[in-house]
């Protein structure tokens, strides 16, 4: 033990930065950016982590099946209708993908905050803010389209940063619980949107409908699959997932993870905890606002009341179901789109209330967090054994 220690002490003793000569050689040998091998491994690990999520989903579906049977439905037929609704034909499948876009982006945004142990559940409000900013620029700013597009994006992201960063600041400096503040902003945004589409932004030629004018046709995202509503937004959505994958391997991502895991250690390691909380919230909300931007130009084309529906809550579930990692979230968001699109079909054709989807969501979270802790029990016991 002792000679080995001496060796490292001497090895690192020379240079102040601690880079001893064997270490230097080693770092030359390996390329600075992690190779494909490690990316592949991450995928594998993510797949391994997917098992529990799958079990949670199956359990939730099973319990809801019982509920369906109890209320006089045929669960198998209901679920078959659900699947058919999501995959039945080109159009339905396209709809499922259309729904995946905002869910995926929103959930990725949510996961940024969640990994920092900041419970931003204000996805709805931030999505709405992003969409409002986007449409406002698209409809009212008299600039060439080519400039209006980046400007609208900038406006959307700024709206998100403003909300997220602001609430992050309240949390970091004044300890205002972000769960409640982000949620209250959701309610406030619902009213704000309602006011806008009924008042200042109302379409003058809209026969009094509570909606804004359409954005210029040239600003709408192109359709990917002819004859469907599937728009180009799928690409930025997937790119966001890829960016998130990279982000968690950067210094900034490391810091957010660290502050989330243990702020005390983070502070001792020289990380500015408050600044990180603000940054994580701002980034999280900016990504959510980006979802609003994508949908504004890809799907809605204008503002209407209650634009976000229950996307924000779904994003929370998807982020958790995906284990807060981008690969898992991508899979989970697709699954949830199936559930949402299929659930609507189920209501239409089988008379099963759409709120079943809500029950499934709730149950999935319940099962996921129960499982995480089942692991913790096992771990804790293991640790105790080691200590004694």
């Amino acid at each position: 033990m002792k000679p080995a220690l001496k060796k490292i002490a001497r090895a690192s003793g020379r240079s102040p930065s601690g880079t001893s000569s064997p270490m230097k050689q080693a770092s030359k040998k390996i390329a600075p950016i992690s190779g494909r091998a490690s990316f592949g491994k991450s995928f594998e690990a993510a797949a391994g982590r997917m098992w529990p999520s799958l079990i949670a989903v199956l359990l939730a579906l099973f319990l809801c099946g019982i509920l369906l049977a109890l209320t006089g439905h045929n669960p198998l037929r209901a679920y078959a209708t659900l699947l058919n609704g999501a995959f039945g034909n080109k159009n339905r499948f396209a709809e499922t993908l259309v729904k995946t876009v905002p869910i995926l982006i929103l959930a990725l945004g949510t996961s940024v905050a969640f990994r920092g142990k900041l419970w931003n559940i204000g996805g709805n409000g931030q999505y709405t803010a992003g969409a409002v900013a986007a449409v406002a620029v698209a409809v009212y700013v008299p600039l060439p389209i080519a400039l209006r597009i980046p400007l609208s994006l900038l406006a959307s992201l700024s709206a998100g940063i403003l909300i997220g960063g602001g609430l992050g600041l309240l949390r970091a400096k004044l300890n205002a619980n972000e769960v409640i503040t982000t949620l209250m902003v959701n309610y406030i945004m619902v009213q704000l949107l309602s006011w806008l589409v009924n008042g200042p932004m109302m379409d003058p030629e809209g026969f009094g409908f509570p909606q804004t004018p359409l954005v210029p046709e040239a600003m709408k995202l192109p359709i990917l699959l002819a004859g469907t509503r599937l728009h180009f937004g799928l690409i930025p959505a997937l790119l966001t997932a890829a960016a998130a994958f990279v982000f968690w391997r950067t210094r900034a991502g490391f810091r957010i993870d660290l502050v989330g895991e243990n702020p005390e250690v983070a502070a001792a390691s020289g990380v500015k905890v408050s600044k990180n909380i603000v940054a994580a919230m701002a980034l999280s909300a900016a990504v959510a606002a980006f979802a609003g931007w994508v949908d504004a130009f890809g799907l809605h084309g204008r503002l209407q009341e209650n634009l976000s529906g229950d996307l924000g809550t779904i994003a929370v579930v998807v982020a958790l179901l995906g284990g807060l990692n981008p690969v898992g979230i991508t899979a989970a968001s697709f699954f949830f789109s199936v559930l949402v699109v299929g659930g609507a079909t189920m209501q239409r054709f089988e008379g099963v209330p759409y709120s079943l989807v809500g029950i499934i969501q709730g149950l999935i979270i319940v099962f996921i967090i129960s499982r995480v802790v089942f692991d913790r029990f096992k771990e804790a016991r293991r640790v105790r054994n080691l200590v004694r």
């Binding site: 490292i8 003793g13 601690g18 390996i30 992690s34 210094r251 243990n262 001792a268 390691s269 054994n385």
Partner: protein
Amino acid sequence: MNRPLVRLSGITKSFSEVPANNSVDFTLYPGSVHGLLGENGAGKTTLMNILFGLYRPDSGKIFLREKETSIHSPLDAMKAGIGMVHQHFMLVRTLTVTENIMLGVPSSKFPFLDSRRVRDDIVRLSEVYRLNVDPDAPVSGLSVGEQQRVEILTALFQGADILILDEPTAVLTPGESEDLFSILRTLRDDGKGIVLISHKLEEILSIADEVTILRSGVVTGRTTVTADTTKKELTRMMVGRDVLFDFSGKKAPTGGVVLEISGLKARDDRGLSALDGVSLDVREGEILGLAGVDGNGQKELCQVITGVRESESGTMVFDGINLVPLSPKERIRAGVRHIPEDRQRSGLVMNWDIRRNLILKNYDSPKISGPLLLKAARIREQADEMIAAYAIKTQGGEEPVRNLSGGNQQKVILAREMGENPRLLIAEHPTRGLDIGATEYVRRCLLDRKAAGAAVLMVSADLEEIFQISDRIAVMYNGRILGVVKPEEGRNRVGMLMAGITDTNEDDRKRTAGTSADAPSKSGRAAGNELNPGEPEGELR
């Protein structure tokens, strides 16, 4: 006297596979103080937790007053007349003394509280045993010694005639310990049976009537303490070999001043003054031991040096540069490293693997981080190197540190903090809670750093440790450095300083011991903050 109060027979308790107690026998008689001696992790606390109903034994029998009893919960234990004073006090800080005591006793006016009756009883019992406890004071305002007395009172209140104390002197000054012992003697003379868990030999020799020694969960000795009982004898039973580590040959010439602190003031989390003008210097190639009872500002001092707590006034000069305006990050880069007191809370991210825990302090250095991404391969390699160099027992770098034993967790911190050859190393209670092997390892590491020219500031409440490896010893009391002494000047001097007594001569010391029984010293840490530093001194004269 002959009929034992407690007889434990063949107690075995394993945590899954690892045995913590292996067929342990233990007997406690009324009217005696029974020392339960052993190193950290020897199974002392586990054994007593079994008696107190916190754990259930896998096998073995418990006899109370010669009647076989099964104890399923602390409630059972209390009903059976067993009281326990835990190492960490089991008091609710926001509640008053009376409220705390009411928590453990049934109310005569159930479902309502009977505060008045309990309060009167506290006053009465407190007088009988000279505990000097104010029933209406909130616990948060009490000194450590007072809190301990509240704990004892709680046990008495519940009618305990068997009293277990788990390392009761760990947080006390030598003076307060004397007070405690005199209370314990009164209780013993009153016919109570007292179990004193300890790893301090002097303590056992001075108060215990009998001693049972545990090592790795097995009883290795049992003896009556007489004038002839020697430390050496007990040590051998306790550790199985005569190890009082030999770190001799350490005297090396020390170099220039690395850190110079003067007039440093800071407040603690509650806004009370924690550092009241600390002045101190740490030199190249030395270990400066910072002795003192816990809570006299040591923690805050370390935080101010590392930069996670702001100072109000005073200067800190590190290698000629002013440290005060530097951020924690800049101080880390400059070579200030820190082994924190509570490794699980402030040293490690327990859920993370060893790899990521090793890069906490330098994740943004060019060595670890590329222009965009962290260098995964480099991080992996570094972890493998460190695991080998520090002999960390693990399945690999991707193992979460929460799976590691305490000693190996500490090694991860050592590897991280020492790997880059720190200029100044602050080691806070670096061996607390570690077993003998790990303790020795950590001390050697500190000596190695010193040999490599680092300035080491070691905070410890363990005088043994302080005296073993320090070149100089600074004693902290009530937010100040009361004195800096050489190890040769002896423990008495340090002990006195720890109690806030600067003027020491033989005479004084005797008087301290004499008066303490009647007037418990108030020099404890919590009260210390509000007290005039001169007061305990005056009181003792």
